[in-house]
């Protein structure tokens, strides 16, 4: 926010004419990048533009094919596998990087455990972990196993891990993709504090408002090429978006079309309870887009999983077009036209070591079998269709899902769920990690589905998305649906009041 | 009446011969318990030396007056046996002798004669086919097997009998089948097969049959399974003889041990069971169709 101050500051870390190829396919083309001391430098670009690749090179996790990295002006070959941490460069990877069996404390100190006379100083490490977590306003238990945390909690642990390391350069690859507004706010406060002490940050994000709010300078990449570096203050969101996409973006959200009041009820949920969720009831009409808002951990995911049969229901019924859907039977739900897209694409969404086609058709194989055997031609056709429809960009058609860029993985996951051609689609965090251009495409896609007569439930922590897209919004809090907003009521202020428990609908 | 408990520790029934041992041990145990109302016989089987040492300990825990033991492998069990013997328990050792085999280890030794099993086979081959080229299929790499090999070498000593090859068949039919198949590939002419065990002979015969080879004159096995004795009895050309190595010897030891308690005279010393050559003439004396072996 203070370009002049930064202008004169020395360059800490820079990339000079860096190119990178993966097995013959070039993904970065002679990119220049400079990070000054005490600045927060945003790195932006479409999905697959090469942001993650560039930051991995800047932290030693990948070696450039050509070009060089300079630290304090001196060319350097960064040590691999996180060895650059010794030089003061830490990175929060886009894809979570925690071992599920370890506890929070163990994860935070992994590889640099504190010992006294060769014995782990567990007390000290626990206290230190608690301190850092408190700093970030996180209530995660420092003794909890990582496996028991939600994605957002895991992300906070990752952030804590990076921040606790007294680094000169902190690289954050989409740290806020899974965080709520509140958490993001706390994070930003810490980041600014550290920036003021001279730490430099690289901040990768698709959220324009965050970039505008937090960063000092912006660098934009497109298709692996450097496009522009400029102080954030002289740009606005639209300009950045235009730089990224290379064309002008029309409005992000399509016009809302509300379904007729006498349109048939597609999905009816009656008094569903699970371990955490109590007594949730709601209806969705054909052609409706219903939003689900609420704070993180308010039970939205748990409710949706119970509806589609991924979790047993303790009580309550679900009806699709009047017909009851049995509890705990995802397959039956899918057959009745109900589909669910998970928010956890890495652990629950995609087979990371399988190719795109295998992932795409996994849920809908019956469509691609002829006389009981699979038809690779039909699968290939489906993949070609999906790549066009969802703009899945890869440079190598045989790439395994785990190596695709984060945003493109998300698109593939969406495509996979849509392959089942569901009538009712529950999408948990539809645009997590997706660039603005594609976001627009996805919103229009969702809207078109609704106009086609499908029903869509959007579970999202991104308020603008909920507001821009949905004609009705349910708000959850502590496992209950506490509010149902319609029309003009749908506003950030109103949703927050319900979510925070300041307001409750009359007859829940 | 006297109350006596005899513990019997024998190898697990994991092979034809040891199955015979289990069969005879249980048969005689039942018989003896009927004969002597005060007698209790506990039979325990173990697959390997370490667990047999455990079994001996467990028998001791139950309070036994005598131990009849046929060791899976004798040397590793000496310590365990000595432990029992040290408490004053009567010990009868069957078949397999440790390297030190004297009164400090056992009171009674009913000896199956492993060297003699090899020697009898060797002498028969020497006498019948003095210029034979022989292939040998061994058992497992443990001392009993080694003793049989040594006995065999002694048996053919001073003749023109030539051993072409010795390989392990693990006292297992399937492995013996494989080894024999490969012998048949490797040697264009084989006169005699010595496979020292009736179980392995089953696989050997099948392999010869499959290859339709006529150069092999006969197979010498050993132990005295009902299957092989039947063949000898029927005059099968491939199995002209069998060398007796009766699993029933454990029964003999058990009877003698019981006699030590219920009879008039104490039983001590060494009692050797011969490795009799079973031929067409005496085969019917050794044929027990109801035995599992």
């Amino acid at each position: 926010m203070n370009p002049e101050a930064v202008d004169g500051a020395p360059v800490v870390l820079s990339a000079r004419r860096v190119s990178k190829s993966f097995s013959g396919v070039q993904v970065l083309f002679s990119v220049d990048f400079e990070l000054r001391q005490g600045e927060i430098h945003a790195l932006m670009g479409e999905n697959g533009a090469g942001k993650s690749t560039l930051v991995k090179i800047l932290s030693g996790f990948e070696q450039p094919t050509s070009g060089e990295i300079l630290l304090d002006g001196q060319p350097i070959k960064l040590p691999p596998n996180g060895g650059a941490e010794a030089l003061g460069i830490v990175i929060i990877h886009q894809e979570l990087n925690l071992a599920e069996h370890l506890t929070v404390t163990e994860s935070l100190f992994l590889g640099r455990e504190v010992t006294r006379f060769g014995v782990l100083d567990r007390k000290f490490m626990r206290a230190e972990t608690r301190r850092v977590l408190d700093l970030l306003g996180s209530h995660v238990d420092e003794n909890a196993p990582i496996a028991s945390l939600s994605i957002a909690e895991k992300q906070m642990v990752e952030i804590a891990k990076a921040i606790s390391r007294d680094a000169r350069v902190v690289i954050m690859d989409e740290p806020t993709a899974v965080l709520s507004r509140e958490e993001t706010g706390i994070l930003f406060r810490q980041v600014r504090k550290l920036r003021d002490k001279g730490t430099s940050f690289i901040f990768v994000s698709h959220k324009l408002d965050e970039v505008m709010e937090l960063t000092d300078r912006v660098t934009v990449l497109r298709d692996g090429q450097w496009i522009k570096t400029s102080p954030t203050a002289i740009l606005d969101g639209e300009a950045i978006a235009q730089l990224m996409v290379g064309r002008e973006l029309s409005s992000l959200y399509p016009a809302k079309t509300e379904p007729d009041v006498d349109e048939a009820i597609a999905l009816r949920v009656e008094a569903v309870s699970t371990g955490y969720v109590r007594d949730a009831s709601f209806e969705v009409r054909k052609g409706e887009i219903l939003g689900f808002s609420g704070l993180i951990g308010s039970g939205r995911t748990e409710l949706m999983e119970a509806i589609v049969g991924l979790r047993p229901r303790l009580s309550g019924d679900v009806f699709v077009e009047g017909k009851a859907v049995p509890s705990g039977d995802l397959h039956a739900a899918n057959r009745s036209g109900l589909a669910y897209m998970t928010k956890d694409r890495k652990a629950k969404g995609l087979l990371l070591n399988a190719g795109m086609a295998a992932n795409l058709t996994l849920q809908s194989l019956e469509r691609h079998s002829r006389l009981g055997y699979l038809d690779p031609g039909s699968e290939a056709a489906a993949l070609a269709r999906a790549r066009r429809r969802f703009d899945i960009r890869v440079r190598d058609a045989n790439i395994v899902a785990g190596r695709m860029s984060g945003g493109n993985q998300q698109k593939l996951l969406l495509a996979k769920v849509m392959e089942t051609e569901p009538q009712i689609i529950i999408i948990d965090e539809p645009t997590r990690g997706i660039d603005v251009g594609t976001k627009q495409q996805i919103y229009h896609f969702i809207s078109a589905l609704a106009r086609d007569g499908r029903s869509i439930i959007v579970v999202s922590s991104e308020m603008p998305e909920i507001i821009g897209l949905c004609t009705r919004v349910a708000v959850m809090r502590e496992g209950q649906i506490v509010g149902m907003l319609e029309g003009d009521e749908i506003s950030e202020h109103e949703i927050m009041r319900y979510a925070a428990g300041l307001k409750k609908k009359a007859a829940a | 009446d006297k109350n006596v408990t005899i513990g019997v520790s024998i190898p697990a029934a994991d092979h034809g011969w040891t199955a015979g041992v289990v069969f005879h041990a249980e048969r005689v145990a039942k018989l003896l318990m009927e004969r002597h109302p005060g007698l209790n016989v506990i039979v325990k089987t173990s697959p390997d030396p370490a667990s047999q040492a455990n079994a001996v300990q467990d028998l001791e825990t139950q309070g036994i007056d005598a131990l009849v033991i046929l060791p899976t492998d004798p040397d590793p069990l000496v310590n365990a046996i000595k432990e029992v013997k040290g408490k004053g328990t009567f010990v009868a050792l069957v078949d397999r002798a440790p390297s030190v085999n004297d009164n400090s280890v056992r009171d009674l030794y009913v000896a199956g004669n492993n060297p003699a099993l090899g020697q009898t086979a060797g002498e028969y081959i020497k006498a019948t086919t003095p210029d034979a080229e022989v292939v040998v299929i061994r058992g497992l790499p443990i001392p009993i097997d080694q003793q049989r090999q040594d006995g065999f070498d002694k048996g053919i000593e001073g003749s023109n009998v030539k051993v072409l090859d010795r390989q392990y068949g693990n006292w297992n039919r399937d492995d013996a089948f494989k080894v024999m198949q490969d012998y048949l590939t490797k040697y264009p002419k084989i006169d005699v097969v010595w496979c020292q065990d009736d179980d392995m002979a089953v696989g050997v015969l099948q392999a010869i049959d499959q290859a339709k080879r006529t150069d092999i004159q006969y197979v010498v096995a050993g132990a005295g399974s009902k299957e092989m004795i039947k063949k000898v009895m029927d005059g099968d050309k491939m199995i002209p003889v069998d060398v007796l190595y009766p699993p029933a010897m454990v029964g003999t030891a058990l009877e003698m041990t019981a006699a030590n308690f219920f009879g008039q005279v104490p039983v001590r010393g060494v009692y050797t069971i011969d490795a009799t050559l079973i031929t067409k003439d005496n085969a019917k004396d050794f044929y027990f169709p109801e035995s599992p072996f």
Binding site: Q26, S369, L374, R395, K416 | G16, N172, D174
Partner: protein
């Protein structure tokens, strides 16, 4: 850009094809190497007769290992297969000895059906204990290994169970010793079983599901796959493969005992891994498995045919050869 993208795609595609191919080819390269070594060791080795012998007797392990490929691809493990062979073979022979059906041909057919059903049942038991009982497959199948082998010992009273009816035996013998169009029956069976298995694994929905479950069972569950059912069916397939192996085993020696199939589980798993399937699950190579079974049998064969290895050292050399074969494979793949 899009032109660019297209062309570069092709570039990579070619490369990664080479990659994939090499990995799949590696076991076959190791096999070829062994054949060459064998030919040098003993001229009889490379004879049709010897190779047919080796291929024929690899049938049991090969067919069992095909089943194991499914179980392992689904992320499980079955240690009970060796014991299962003994158990099913015992049941089958006892059934044939029972004389329940007078006509021998009918009896044989019934016995075959009976063995197949028994195999499926044993596999189902393994599958249910593992999935419904939620016990680590290693322990679950170690337990059933004890059960199957114990029951066999009990059925045979420790001795051998021998097919008594000579007429049946005569009729059944060609199932192992016969040949079809000059090819020994067991080799034909191996090829048929493998072809069917490859079809199921690579070309059916179920096969995809197996790989998905083995690769990440959560993802599979979220994709509407009945994970436990898929795993259980894999165990049933394993059981069926064991039954087929038994159908070949019984006519060979016409008898079984409690020692039948001892350690075959380790051999089957080794064949699977040597064939290129990872024990972690998530990928299966059926043809590689067959190749692995063949390699194992060849190593033993070469040892026996060679004249310069002490019989005491055979085990050591076999172990060393397996390690070297794997190292050769690895270095091949790495070079790509």
């Amino acid at each position: 850009m899009s032109v660019n993208e297209e062309s570069s795609q092709n570039g990579i595609r070619r490369r990664s094809w080479r990659d994939v191919d090499l990995r799949a080819v590696a076991p076959f390269a190791a096999l070829a190497l062994l054949l060459i070594i064998g030919a040098m060791v003993n001229p009889n080795f490379i004879g049709v007769n010897n190779l047919a012998n080796v291929a024929t007797r690899s049938a049991f392990i090969a067919i069992i290992a095909v089943g194991a490929t499914f179980v392992i691809s689904a992320g499980d493990l079955d240690l009970s297969v060796g014991a299962m062979v003994a158990f099913i073979a015992s049941l089958m022979i006892l059934f044939m000895n029972s004389g329940a059906i007078a006509d021998p041909a009918l009896m044989l057919a019934a016995a075959v059906a009976f063995a197949v059903a028994a195999g499926a049942a044993c596999g189902l038991a393994n599958g249910l204990i593992t999935t419904v009982g939620r016990i680590e497959p290693f322990i679950a199948t170690l337990g059933t290994m004890g059960i199957y082998r114990g029951l066999t010992t009990w059925l045979s009273q420790g001795g051998a169970i021998t097919l008594r009816e000579p007429q049946l035996q005569e009729m059944y013998r060609p199932a192992y010793f016969g040949s079809i169009l000059g090819m020994p029956v067991p080799i034909v069976v191996i090829l048929a079983v493998t072809a069917v298995a490859a079809f199921v694994l690579y070309r059916t929905r179920y096969g995809r599901h197996v790989v998905a479950v083995g690769s990440n069972s959560d993802v599979a569950r979220y994709s509407g796959i009945a994970v436990n059912r898929v795993r259980t069916i894999a165990f049933v397939i394993q059981g069926l493969c064991v039954a087929v192996a038994v159908l070949l085993y019984v006519p060979r020696l016409g008898s079984t005992s409690a020692t039948t199939g001892i350690l075959w589980e380790l051999q089957a798993i080794t064949a699977v891994v040597v064939g290129g399937t990872a024990l972690k699950g998530g990928a299966g190579r059926v043809w590689g498995t067959i190749c692995g079974a063949f390699i194992l049998e060849l190593v033993g064969n070469i040892m026996l045919l060679s004249n310069f290895v002490s019989e005491y050292l055979i085990g050591a050399i076999q172990g060393a050869i397996i390690i070297i074969a794997m190292l050769v494979q690895r270095s091949l793949v790495r070079k790509s």
